[in-house]
C-alpha cells in the first residue's frame, strides 16, 4: 500500500532532496525497507547497524509517535502519512 513519507531537511539529502515522497509498506519496518531500496543510505541515517531505530530519530504515523503504538510493527494503511524526524535538543 502506498504511504506518503515526509522528512525534514536533515534527512532530505539521502532522498534526492525531497521533503515528501511515496513508498510502500504494510508496517513501518516494510516501509523503511522500501525506502532503503529506493534511496540507499536512508536506513543508515535513522537506525543503527542492528536496524534498531536511533533514539534521536522520531517516527510518526499520522502524527502519532510509533513508540506509543507498536514501534516498527505499527500497521499502515494506504494514504497514511509517515514522518521521519531527527530530534533537535540540547541542555546542560
Amino acid at each position: 500500500m502506498t504511504i506518503k513519507v515526509q522528512v525534514t531537511s536533515v534527512i532530505q539529502k539521502v532522498v534526492n532532496g525531497q521533503s515528501e515522497f511515496e513508498a510502500e509498506g504494510s508496517v513501518v519496518s516494510e516501509l523503511i525497507e522500501d525506502i532503503e531500496n529506493k534511496y540507499p543510505g536512508f536506513l543508515q541515517q535513522i537506525a543503527n547497524e542492528s536496524g534498531e531505530l536511533h533514539r534521536f530519530v522520531n517516527v510518526y504515523v499520522n502524527d502519532e509517535d510509533i513508540r506509543f503504538i507498536n514501534g516498527k510493527d505499527t500497521p499502515l494503511n494506504s494514504g497514511d502519512v509517515v514522518a521521519f524526524l531527527p530530534a533537535l535538543s540540547g541542555g546542560l
Binding site: 515526509q6 536511533h54 534521536f56 524526524l85 530530534a87 540540547g90
Partner: protein, 144 residues
C-alpha cells in the same frame, strides 16, 4: 553580525520567562537575510536542564517555510540558571547523528541563540556552531 529587531529579542526573553522553571525553545524564521518571526516550539523534555523541540511542530514550521520562501534564521533556547553560551550537550546535539562533530552541523547556516535568565536583565547571545564542534560568537546588533 546578526541584525535582530529588539521586538524579536524581547519575544525570546518573554518566552524564556513564560516557560520557567523549564528551558524554552523555538525557531526564528527569516527572509531576505532578515529575521521576521519568533516561533515558540514546545519543549517536549519539559525540564530546567534540557530541551527537546517537539518534532511535529518543527516539521510544520519547516513545511510552512517552504510555502512562504522563508528560511531558518535561528534556533533559540534558554538556560534558566547558566550562561548564554552553548553547553557541551548543545554542541553535541547540533550534529546528526549527535556527537559526530566531524560532520557538518544539522543547520550549518543558522544562528544558535541562547537566552540566559541567570542574571537580571536576561542576556541574549548568538553563535554559529561549526564543523568540529567549534563555537563562534556573533555579536547581535539589536535594532528598534
Amino acid at each position: 553580525m546578526p541584525h535582530i529587531p529588539k521586538k524579536l529579542i524581547d519575544e525570546m526573553i518573554e518566552h524564556a520567562i513564560d516557560d520557567l522553571p523549564n528551558e524554552a525553545c523555538g525557531q526564528v524564521n527569516g527572509k531576505n537575510g532578515r529575521p521576521l518571526t519568533v516561533n515558540r516550539v514546545k519543549n517536549s523534555a519539559a525540564s530546567p536542564f534540557r530541551y527537546s523541540m517537539d518534532p511535529l511542530a518543527m516539521l510544520k514550521l519547516e513545511q510552512a517555510r517552504e510555502e512562504t520562501g522563508e528560511y531558518l534564521f535561528a534556533i533559540y533556547h534558554s538556560h534558566v540558571a547558566s550562561e548564554a553560551y552553548p553547553s557541551q550537550t548543545d554542541i553535541r546535539q547540533a550534529f546528526f547523528p549527535p556527537g559526530e562533530l566531524d560532520r557538518q552541523p544539522m543547520f550549518p547556516d543558522c544562528y544558535y541563540i541562547l537566552v540566559s535568565l541567570a542574571h537580571d536583565p536576561p542576556e541574549v547571545r548568538a553563535f554559529r556552531i561549526r564543523q568540529g564542534g567549534l563555537v563562534e560568537e556573533e555579536l547581535i546588533k539589536s535594532e528598534d
